[in-house]
């Protein structure tokens, strides 16, 4: 499987980067490999570097990584039910990273746990520290996950589809909390999702992934107003509107997502692309600047005027 193929991005302090892609586009694998969270073997990081405050994460040993994980980089997963330990109380699971990474005493850790729960909007926080995960609803569990990720004041928070399993009214609550926390704590966030609507509301910058590559990257307003990659354009067109005119018929992207077992030789989107050129089938385009802060990986360039 060629899950992620030579992608590069950077994250500035306090920024929210949205990573959008469909299932199998490699967005989760990218983040998991940053912190070596994938079982290795069978997974293997073939090449690349990942700098965090001038330290290459991929070169660190397990012990050093442990310090970074959940200490400086917090992680929120999609499904709060499987990522919380069902036989430990919420209070214990919250306090554990603080005792481990910050060396807090039991009492101090407990106090801070209650504060964190309050911060993510759990009522009667202190009395709920002794409860187990099954005593919380899905939305509440995801809040607990966020509280755990925030426990050690991380500089970076990686959120992998954190609201996908939740209902829209609960999702709106969580998004509201995240926006508020960002304002208060000023951490940088990488938000992985398949939902272009969620990203539109919270991200500063967006990277679109397809078949293990980043195919387009731009500031959020620019990306939605002026998408340049045929995949991004297609994706935005296939979505039905909640307001405004109702389309007679949805535009669709024909064909199926790529098979990641094949080593990609050509542009991964070429078989489904409506603007496909001869060159697209022979060579995979690398991602280049086209406009201010707007990067695209595509041979087709209607703006350039010259024929490739």
């Amino acid at each position: 499987m060629y899950a992620v193929n030579g992608i590069s991005f950077d994250l500035k302090k306090g920024e929210l980067l949205g990573i959008v892609g469909e299932s199998g586009s490699g967005k989760s694998v990218t983040m998991m490999s940053l912190l070596k969270l994938l079982p290795m073997p069978p997974a293997e990081i073939v090449s690349g570097t990942a700098k965090f405050e001038d330290q290459d994460l991929l070169q660190l040993d397990t012990k050093q990584l442990r310090k970074i994980r959940s200490g400086k980089i917090g992680f929120i997963f999609q499904d709060p039910m499987t990522s919380l330990n069902p036989v430990l109380t919420i209070g214990y699971q919250l306090a554990e990273p603080m005792r481990e990474h910050l060396g807090l005493s039991r009492r101090k850790a407990r106090k801070r746990s209650a504060e964190l729960l309050e911060q993510v909007g759990i009522p009667m926080a202190e009395s709920r520290l002794g409860d187990y995960p099954h005593q919380f609803s899905g939305g509440m569990r995801q809040r607990v996950m966020i509280a755990i990720a925030l426990a050690c004041d991380p500089k970076v928070l990686i959120a992998d589809e954190p609201t996908t399993a939740l209902d829209v009214t609960i999702q709106a609550q969580i998004l509201d909390i995240v926006k508020q926390l960002r304002k208060d704590l000023g951490m940088a966030i990488i938000w992985i999702t398949h939902d272009l609507g969620v990203v539109a509301g919270i991200a500063d910058r967006v990277a679109v992934m397809y078949g293990g590559f980043i195919v387009e990257e731009a500031p959020v307003d620019e990306l939605y107003a002026n998408p340049k990659h045929p995949y991004t354009q297609g994706l935005l067109k296939t979505l039905p509107n909640l307001e405004g005119e109702r389309a007679e018929r949805l535009e669709s992207i024909s064909g199926q997502p790529p098979d990641l077992r094949q080593k990609p030789q050509s542009c991964p989107f070429a078989p489904r692309c409506s603007n496909v050129l001869e060159r697209c089938l022979q060579e995979n385009p690398s991602i280049v600047n086209r406009g201010i802060n707007h990067k695209v990986a595509c041979w087709w360039n209607p703006d350039s005027g010259e024929k490739e």
């Binding site: 469909e22 509201d176 539109a200 509301g201 307003d221 939605y224 296939t238 109702r246 389309a247």
Partner: protein, 327 residues
């Protein structure tokens, strides 16, 4: 599609489904999960009625009870004027070809040990339609009509992607030329770029065969696109029902308003300007719903009577029904 002029195909009156909660060795009933708690609506021939709601609101159970896949606790479902609950098992079986279902997860709803051909021909065999080479021809024709290759009859479900598997499920549902299909979250398990393909296919089939759909989904944007009329469900009850345009432009029930404002819109400029109604708290358990209006515990506008009396289901404008004291 002018729904008002068309005859009523399916009539649902006070439909209720409670699942018993039992306790102890003697399985004494100690309570009930009120999954569907007295819902009523009509579906007109040739239209698409959207049924929206969040998880656990009872929308899928409603679909299954309508098709009599679960026995009903109370209420009445009539299909073309015939009361489905009064039918014997055999008579009901004879009605089944006219009413079909498309399920959410094409992974779970197709038998992995059956070939695509035998999956699609199973309803034909069961109801004694077509024989021998005619049946084979019909299966191939069905595959073609859902946009798949005729040659695929001997393949197995695992050889296909999610979108293609959903097409196989659709081919099976239309095999007996039904009039009415319940689509239970048919696109929820599919990728965004594939969802539009499947929705377009469903619309094409509707046009070609004059199908009537009950389209169950939690995706409000997609419901707006596909449905002629929309019913919004909350904790076992329908809170608002009207034509799609009115519901999205002037929602009246506070829950519909909150639900619509919570849906993210894929336009950053618009998204920053939007006013949100953020609901507090979670959906109460259907085993122990609040007295009075079910939405009262989360409603930003709830008054004293909302906590005491159930609001009446009434028509406030032609074709626009709401259950709320404050409207």
């Amino acid at each position: 599609m002018s729904s008002e002029a068309s005859p009523v195909l399916l009539k649902v009156e006070g439909l209720t489904k409670h699942f018993p909660i039992t306790k102890g060795v003697f399985r004494r009933q100690v309570g009930a999960v009120k999954a569907v708690d007295g819902i009523s609506f009509d579906i007109f021939k040739g239209e698409t009625l959207g049924l929206v709601g969040e998880s656990g609101c009872g929308k899928s159970t409603a679909g299954r009870v309508i098709l009599q896949l679960y026995p009903t606790t109370a209420g009445k479902v009539s299909f073309k004027g015939q009361d489905l609950m009064s039918l014997s098992k055999e008579d009901l079986r004879k009605q089944r070809p006219q009413m079909q279902m498309i399920f959410q997860d094409p992974q779970d709803s197709l038998n992995p040990r059956m070939t695509v051909g035998s999956i699609i021909s199973e309803p034909l065999v069961e109801h004694g339609k077509f024989k021998g080479s005619e049946r084979r021809e019909r299966v191939e024709q069905l595959l073609e009509s859902v946009g798949m290759n005729r040659e695929f009859t001997n393949r197995y479900p695992h050889e296909f992607s999610g979108g293609q598997r959903q097409r196989i499920g659709i081919a099976r549902a239309i095999a007996l030329s039904p009039e009415f299909i319940i689509c239970d979250e048919p696109i929820a398990a599919l990728d965004v770029s594939i969802q539009a393909q499947v929705v377009n296919l469903l619309e094409d089939l509707q046009e070609e065969y004059g199908l009537t759909y009950l389209f169950i989904s939690h995706d409000l944007s997609m419901i707006r696109h596909i449905a002629d009329r929309v019913a919004v469900m909350y904790l076992g009850r329908i809170v608002e029902l009207t034509d799609s345009e009115t519901l999205y432009s002037t929602p009246l029930h506070p829950y519909t308003q909150a639900l619509l404002s919570a849906v993210p819109i894929h336009d950053p400029k618009h998204e920053k300007k939007r006013e949100r109604v953020i609901l507090t708290g979670d959906v109460p358990s259907p085993a122990n719903p609040p007295p009075g209006c079910h939405f009262s515990t989360r409603c930003p506008r709830a008054e004293k009577r909302c906590f005491e009396d159930s609001p009446e289901w009434r028509e406030i404008a032609p074709g626009h029904q709401v259950a709320c004291h404050l409207v």
